[in-house]
Amino acid sequence: MEPFTTLTGRLLALPVDNVDTDQIIPARFLKTTSKAGLGQDLFADWRYHPDGSPRPDFPLNQPGAQGAPILLAGDNFGCGSSREHAPWALADFGFRAVISTSFADIFRNNALKNGLLPVVVDAQTQQQLFSLAQEDPAVRLVIDLASQTLVLPDGRRVSFPIDGFSKVCLLEGMDELGYLLKQEAFIAGYEQRHPPRVDTRIG
């Protein structure tokens, strides 16, 4: 995973609450056996007409959207299905951070494992950011993970929460599986004390 330290870039606003992962990447695109190339189908049903032509009013189709690394969304982003294809698609499109007042648990976990930073802000900050993006579609933000701050164009700094472990993983581009595999002695000890409750291979 590529380390995440600071991010400076354009903000793309999607002022919709409860964006579910079925919208982020519809189920018909989940037949892939790879992680790559999902960006072209990101938000497919909101982004394209049924004939495949782009809907000009959708934020991702507006000039400058390509290359905007920060998505600003409504409340409860990423609810619904556990598909990791959602953060794969967002990252493949070019997003490195999503700002919302709240994230669905599974989406947040999945995003963190793909170098996509979920930034939680309060409702007031969220509204200010939506206004900023409306006034100036080219508005740029700075996200500094080490200090956990979001820097607005007027210089105002807003801090955001992230648990220490996820922060270190992102800053160092560290993989959680590496950490888990280092716990081998503990896992083996646990398995010795707790025999398997089922054996799926028999019965």
Partner: protein
């Protein structure tokens, strides 16, 4: 175990959690042991690829089990699979299972079915376990007093490799359901009412524990319906403390313990319910006596109404965010605000899914459809949750009731719940569906979903419109 845990009263969740923490370094999430890992074709290929790239094996193939459910056709198994991508994905799971030694309930296996249906059916799902799957409806298994939750594909790889997950301890929320359900009102209506009450994000960061007399009175299949949709309120998992209903469901199932081990397991399982004095972080209450059949009108499962109520008028909603959300939903659904849904025409009825594709669901629908016919022009799909359920239903003659009424009786799978296998709505069509998600396009691009119980779905099949099932008599 830490000293302070010995005497402190603990909830059901805390007992399972404590029992599965392998290690926990300060400042890091807990390493949580997984007793049972369920795998399906859609969220696993990239995880197996990750194992290959790192040269890793599956740590515990005997605690892992796979099935084909999401993209499998529900047409007769002897027919070729039309969708090449789906066929390739299924073949990939078959070869991954062979390569890594994982038992697979495959294409022609009589035990194949939806992953959350076959786990309980085979007795793999047991009280006190931790169970994960790359599927958000893993919360279903919480009906047995197992801590069960959905994970992403990276985490599928973690569990395949280490049988563990890194987890932060969630909060807990008791959902107490008082009273008893009236005739015509089902477990599906309870969970739809809850999600409507607290919203699609109301349970984020928490594990629900369902309690109260209305929950105790439910069968295991009904409890699974409730736990299944916990995720639709954003909850990580849903739990119901095991009791005699749980144990009698489990007794004699192929993977359930037998003989002396069964007796020993019972002793352990009976100690799982929360201790007196142990409380969850939050409490939500619901009164079963006051519930009516529920139906959703919008584009998330929290947008529900009692079936006799009008669709909300966005202009009457004070919160601007909610107002906008309802307005957007009604535009997608092409519904008029302030008008009842009753009588709204329906094109398709889907009876099935991990929410409501079990034998008791099919029996309920069949009871109402017996001796009647589906309204002309309405397509009705009845899709059993597993091949075993299909055979059981056929042994009871349920398939004849459905077929005589004019419904399609199909092979097991996720089918039109996720619309990956060709079973899908056409743009603009309305469906009454017993599944779990009414998101835009969930049942096919442009399709519009009303979520409801099997009874309400059967009623819509007969009348071709949204109908209160309590107004139809059962004909024997």
């Amino acid at each position: 175990m830490k000293d302070d845990l010995v005497n402190r009263p603990r909830t059901l969740f805390e007992k399972i959690w404590d029992d599965h923490v392998v290690t926990e370094e300060p400042g890091s999430p807990a390493v949580l042991y997984v007793d049972l890992h369920l795998v399906h074709e859609v969220t696993s290929p990239q995880a197996f690829q990750g194992l290959r790239q790192r040269g890793l094996k599956v740590r515990r193939p005997g605690q892992t089990v796979a099935t084909l459910d999401h993209s499998i056709p529900t047409t007769p198994p002897e027919l070729p699979i039309q969708d090449e991508l789906a066929a390739r994905q299924m073949a990939q799971l078959e070869s991954n299972c062979r390569e890594f030694g994982i038992p697979l309930h495959g294409m022609h296996d009589p035990t194949r079915g939806i992953v959350h249906v076959i786990g309980p059916e085979l007795g793999l799902t047991q009280p006190g376990m931790t169970i994960v799957c790359g599927d958000s409806h893993t919360s279903t298994h919480g009906a047995f007093g197992a801590l069960a939750f959905g994970i992403g594909t990276s985490e599928v790889e973690h569990v395949l490799a280490s049988q563990c997950l890194l987890q932060r301890k969630p909060q807990t929320c008791e959902v107490r359901v008082e009273g008893r359900l009236a005739p015509g009102v089902s477990a599906k209506d309870v969970i739809l009412a809850l999600i409507t009450q607290i919203g699609a994000g109301g349970g984020t960061g928490t594990v629900f524990e369902y309690t109260g007399p209305a929950i105790r009175a439910l069968s295991m299949e009904e409890r699974m319906t409730i736990c299944n949709m916990s995720i639709e309120a954003g909850a990580r998992a849903g739990l119901i403390a095991p009791d005699d209903t749980t144990f009698s469901y489990l007794a004699g199932r192929p993977h359930a313990p037998h003989g002396a081990v069964w007796e020993a397991s019972l002793l352990v399982w009976r100690r799982l319910p929360g201790d007196p004095g142990a409380a969850c972080d939050r409490l939500v209450t619901l009164d079963a006596d006051r519930l009516e059949p529920m139906i959703t009108y919008g584009t998330n499962p929290g947008m529900g109404i009692p079936i006799t109520a009008p669709v909300p008028d966005p202009d009457a909603i004070p919160d601007p965010g909610q107002r906008q959300a309802v307005r957007k939903a009604l535009a997608y659904m092409a519904l008029a605000p302030g008008r009842p849904l009753l009588g709204h025409p329906v094109d398709v009825v889907f009876i099935g899914s991990c929410t409501n594709g079990r034998l008791s669901d099919l029996r309920q629908a069949a009871r109402l459809m017996q001796g009647r016919t589906v309204k002309a022009g309405v397509r009705v799909l009845v899709v059993p949750g597993s091949q075993q359920i299909k055979r059981q239903a056929e042994a009871e003659g349920l398939h004849r009731i459905f077929q005589a009424a004019g419904a399609e009786w199909r092979e097991a799978g996720c089918s039109m719940c996720i619309a990956m296998n060709g079973d899908q709505l056409q743009p603009g069509q309305y469906a009454v569906s017993t599944s779990n998600r009414n998101f835009e396009g969930r049942q096919g691009p442009g399709g519009r979903t009303f979520l409801a119980s099997p009874l309400t779905a059967a009623a819509a099949a007969l009348t071709g419109a949204v109908t209160d099932p309590r107004t139809l008599e059962v004909r024997s």
